[in-house]
């Protein structure tokens, strides 16, 4: 069974460059890689209690994209809606890929943009896996 919509919830943190990469990777998925299958959930809107966002995350599978160990996106979804289907931690991915020069929170370097694109592909792989497992 394929799953029509998957929610992608990105970190909205400003405290580290991984937050910037999380948001840009999520935008790449929404705009270029999976525009028809992806719904993004606005984390600040979600956390103030907007019912539509919370209901979506209860009924559809979600992927949390977090910049740092605080994992705010994952914790918010699991606190207010349901367990996330997948969770990606950008700081772990950067360590795994031995990435050094991604730029600043305000402006990514060319390498930073390439890494955001690589994170976006990880999101797409997670979406395909969820879809193949019927939403699990």
């Amino acid at each position: 069974m394929s799953v029509r919509s998957i929610g992608v919830v990105s970190c909205s943190g400003e405290c580290c460059v991984e937050g910037t990469i999380s948001r840009i990777a999520t935008r790449f998925v929404l705009e270029k890689l999976k525009p028809d299958d992806t719904v993004t959930i606005c984390l600040p809107l979600f956390s103030i209690g907007e019912e539509g966002e919370r209901m979506f995350a209860k009924e559809f599978p979600t992927i949390a994209i977090d910049g740092c160990e605080k994992r705010c996106a994952q914790h918010a979804i699991e606190k207010f809606s349901a367990k996330t289907a997948r969770s990606l931690l950008v700081s772990d991915l950067l360590k795994k890929w031995s990435v050094k020069n991604v730029g600043s929170r305000r402006k990514l370097t060319r390498e930073g943009k390439e890494i955001a694109s690589k994170v976006a592909k990880e999101i797409v792989a997670a979406m395909d896996d969820i879809s193949a497992r019927g939403g699990q």
């Binding site: 840009i24 935008r27 606005c42 809107l45 956390s47 914790h75």
Partner: protein, 90 residues
């Protein structure tokens, strides 16, 4: 999401909320956290005051988007100066 350090920071310092849209999530999140909200801005209002600007791109801002960001930053900086003059602890 209830991070104690963040909650302590917003309670002990004056906070300025900068919201993109009329939902005002930053302001409401601060209010829910018991923060000391000293000012708030809505980018949508500042965009209305600058109708010559038509930012279109979301992922990477275009020229109009960057210009609008600069205007918002200047307004926030002006507010910070004003609050400093009044002795508000930021």
């Amino acid at each position: 999401m209830g991070d104690e350090d963040a909650k302590r920071l917003v309670k002990s310092h004056g906070c300025i909320a900068i919201d993109g849209c009329p939902n005002e999530c930053a302001k409401k999140n601060l209010e829910l956290s018991g923060a000391k909200l000293v000012a708030n801005f809505r980018v949508v209002d500042i965009l209305r005051q600058n109708r010559n600007l038509k930012p279109k791109e979301i992922t990477f801002l275009d020229r109009d988007g960057r210009e609008l960001a600069q205007i918002v930053a200047e307004k926030v900086a002006e507010k910070v100066n004003e609050l400093n003059c009044k002795g508000v602890v930021l």
